[in-house]
Symmetry: C2
């Protein structure tokens, strides 16, 4: 009855006393990688250099402390680190601290009592926002008399704290232990993102925060917030409040207020995560039209307006006035140096139907003349706000002139190798999402497919490869909301996390299975409903339903 066997229908139909099934159970077994412990324990994503000795130390919740090193450039005033210390203490001892021993108890000779966190650069960047050029490296040494985490900036320290917490394990009596370890670590790619879509379904703030939390556990550093789209406009704009008043699913219960947005950004910053909002135009904008008169193109049926509307109207000056004001607001609300401008999947039917919009011929196809010019004007507008921009690949494909620092987002085609080649040959920075559309679910262990992707597997020079700054796992929202988002995203996105962080040669699928299984149970223990990889159990199962 095991469903993996379902596909062998014809043979099975011959029945249970005919002995034809012999090989199918084996088949199922080989599908699951070996469930042996990895020599790297539960580390995920795997650090660049790891040395774990067999010497182990105990840790107790009553004695163990995470403290600033004396030499650190970040002290008690760096609340980003102080918050992180508390958070990781809770992760490490949360489930056992009620049993905490008395504070006066003497520590044993092989007990580790301190992790010192040492920010080595004069500017810790404690109060800054992370950026694509942030230094995320760190070095971790676990030994007596104390463990030391050295990082030039707070961003590396955050990653190092996560790594340290991943080194802990429980002995058979539930006592926490850690082995003497030396780690030197940095990300392979600078841009490691998750796209969530709050338009197809509204995502309550609680869900977004829980996923930012989980992103930090996986060393992701970009939250690509696909905040609005055709279906709804939950972003409450101070300049144009009618956009959400009319365009959200509900003007009060299904919007993100300025305070909500601020909270998401700060929650993310405290975890070293950038928040890049996407305001996709000129297509994907049906919901914009509800609260902003004349913004969308009136579609025609023959010689008369049909009453429906198409993409943003590119021939009115008011459109550009609106865009100017709107993106001015966006540039102040979102601190990141980049904003994602979309530019994908424009439906021309309506533009073509409108007699005021002229057509022009390219090759054999007629298309609206205004197509390029809308995007060109929008890019100019956004440039005046001092933001860089990301765009979906179509904008590049169609030869729009882009600023040199533009990030081209490749999403079409599971392989996507040719597109990566073209974009980088043109000298543009790029990120990859094409093979990582996590909303496209299928039976069994699809994380392996995501894991096996090699982003630099395209023809190109070393210079071209350097232009690939990372990638994003995308969880589009058509079939996802608060009820199923988190288990659908994790640990499938964790596969992408390791691909973007760890060294290129970290490709052993069995080792990955073993570490990821433990990493998934750790996420579960931390309250995140990360779904199972295969038949198995966690020592502490998820407490929700």
């Amino acid at each position: 009855m095991s469903t993996t066997l379902k596909f062998t229908v014809l043979l099975l139909a011959l029945g249970f006393c005919r002995g034809l099934l012999d090989n199918y159970i084996d088949e199922e077994e080989t599908e699951a990688p070996d469930a042996q412990a990895s020599k790297f324990g539960s580390l995920w994503p795997l650090p660049q250099k790891v040395q774990i000795s067999e010497v182990s130390f105990k840790l107790t919740s009553s004695s163990f402390k995470i403290v600033d090193a004396k030499e650190s450039s970040a002290g008690p005033s760096c609340s980003l680190l102080q918050d992180a210390y508390r958070r990781y203490y809770e992760y490490m001892f949360g489930s056992t601290k009620k049993l905490g021993l008395s504070k006066s108890r003497r520590t044993g000779p092989s007990e580790l009592t301190e992790l010192q966190v040492w920010i080595t650069s004069p500017d810790s960047e404690c109060d800054d926002y992370p950026s694509v050029t942030s230094d995320e490296s760190y070095e971790l040494s676990v030994d007596l008399p104390f463990a030391v985490l050295k990082a030039p900036k707070v961003w590396g320290a955050l990653h190092g704290l996560e790594t340290f917490s991943q080194l802990l394990y429980e002995d058979e009596y539930g006592a926490k232990s850690v082995n003497a370890t030396t780690i030197s670590d940095f990300p392979r790619f600078a841009h490691r993102g998750i796209l969530l879509d709050s338009s197809r379904h509204f995502l309550p703030i609680k869900v977004i925060l829980a996923n930012l939390e989980t992103m930090a556990m996986n060393k992701f550093n970009v939250f690509h917030w696909h905040i609005v789209d055709d279906q709804s406009f939950p972003y409450l704009s101070r300049t144009f409040p009618q956009l959400s008043q009319q365009g959200a699913y509900h003007p009060y219960t299904h919007v993100y207020t300025p305070a909500d947005v601020k909270m998401v950004i700060e929650f993310a910053r405290l975890r070293g995560i950038r928040v890049i909002p996407e305001f996709d135009t000129p297509g994907h904008t049906q919901s914009w039209g509800k609260g902003q008169k004349d913004l969308l193109t009136p579609c025609y049926s023959g010689s008369k307006p049909s009453g429906t509307f198409g993409p943003i109207n590119p021939i009115l000056n008011t459109t550009y006035d609106f865009m100017n004001q709107f993106f001015k607001e966006i540039s102040t609300v979102f601190p990141d140096a980049y904003v994602h401008l979309g530019g994908d999947e424009v439906d021309f039917t309506c533009w073509r139907s409108n007699p005021d919009i002229q057509l022009q011929q390219t090759g054999i196809i007629l298309h609206p003349k205004v197509c390029f010019s809308f995007i060109v004007k929008l890019l100019d507008i956004v440039t005046t706000t001092n933001k860089g921009y990301m765009i979906w690949q179509e904008v590049f494909d169609n030869g729009v002139k882009l600023k040199p620092d533009t990030v081209v987002h490749v999403w079409i085609g599971g392989g996507s190798n040719e597109e990566m080649e073209k974009v980088t040959a043109a000298g543009y920075t790029t990120i990859l999402s094409a093979p990582w559309y996590l909303d496209l679910i299928s039976y069994a262990q699809d994380w392996q497919k995501y894991y096996k992707v090699e982003p630099l597997n395209f023809n190109g020079t070393e210079e071209q490869k350097k232009l690939v700054i990372g990638g994003e796992a995308c969880l589009w929202g058509e079939y996802v909301d608060a009820t199923n988002l988190t288990p659908r995203l994790w640990p499938r996105a964790s596969a992408v996390a390791e691909r973007l962080w760890s060294a290129k040669d970290v490709t052993d699928i069995n080792d990955a299975f073993n570490r990821l299984s433990m990493h998934r149970c750790r996420m579960v223990e931390r309250g995140i409903p990360a779904e199972p990889l295969f038949s198995s159990y966690c020592p502490r199962e998820y407490k929700g339903i």
Copy 2:
């Protein structure tokens, strides 16, 4: 960027200024059925006969009561009903009762203040367990001065309460209303089940109870508990405690104690749900072998035992002694008249390797001689416990003689028409699961596929069709645990619920989409993380993550 469009990769690659995308957005739209209100509101599954008038009444949490009708054969001592009244009051007013009006407030002229529940048969069956022959019919009349729910037995009353709660809606001020309505209802099929698998992953009791709760909201009446399998043996047997002590994932945290099992059975009974446990043999029993010496067949490598074990050892008398005692316990622990004995997917490699097990030839294939005889003996043993049995189709396919009341469970082949024809032609009762393997997930709205199944769509006489007593949606556990089970099951299983309950001609997919969308939001409002059908929102989104 919408992922539905991902499949049109080649065309999209030609880019956004070429106008080739015109039709794809439309395609996406047609994929989603019309989002218009159904004339049947949010009723799910659709009752057999419904008449809803336009006259509406208000209900308030402070005035409305569910009471026993004076003539009812079930009174205050029927705690099944009293519990149900409280549960449905909470469902109906849970989210608004804090605003409850003062009790002394006069009710308005068009306010409905009472639902009278009238059990019409002298024996209400209040303290019984439901069975395959239980009368589940009811009649509901909503009108002034009070609504009346008539049912021969409590089982129909439970369904009627659910239906009544589904008739409520909120006006724009959040006030609860119900229209004057007449409903006459009964299930098309008597056996409407959900299979959950607590062996591949342990399912905490909380998860099982939440899903029983949701089953009742969908008028399912059988919980097929695939409680043990190769991977783990979480059933704590009083007679053979070593089975779970050694065979569970963990002997304390990952077992079902007798008290747990009792609680599940009673929780289910109170909702009109039968609990049918499956103890699958002779295959799928690896976990049994850990705590029961000599139960499994030693496999041989050449002339020596290899150290691994195969299916249950069919040639030892101790095996049958064990089975005797074990199923005696099962027959007392589980009150249902049926137990599921499995009998599927037996791997013969090991039996063949064992020199003590003789082979016999059928056609061109050698198979163990003991194969039939094990099953035959097991069926005899179970018969002595006065239980009926269900078995997977292979047992029937291979010509084992079965008791006339045996239920043959058809699971192989998505269509399964021929098997249904064969089983019923042989005069056996059958249930269908083949098209309803809900663990086989895929992108987009697969509920429609489940919904479109017609169980009687096979060649056969009227007599044969009557032998089809229902079906089960199966959620096998390889990729499912507490983290993702509930949203993966609902509302996909709801599609099966309507197919098994409603009249054969209830097949309008648009109407189903609209009712099911509302039904899913109702489940969410009741705290169940039922996933969305498509881009949309619920007035009250899920509060968890």
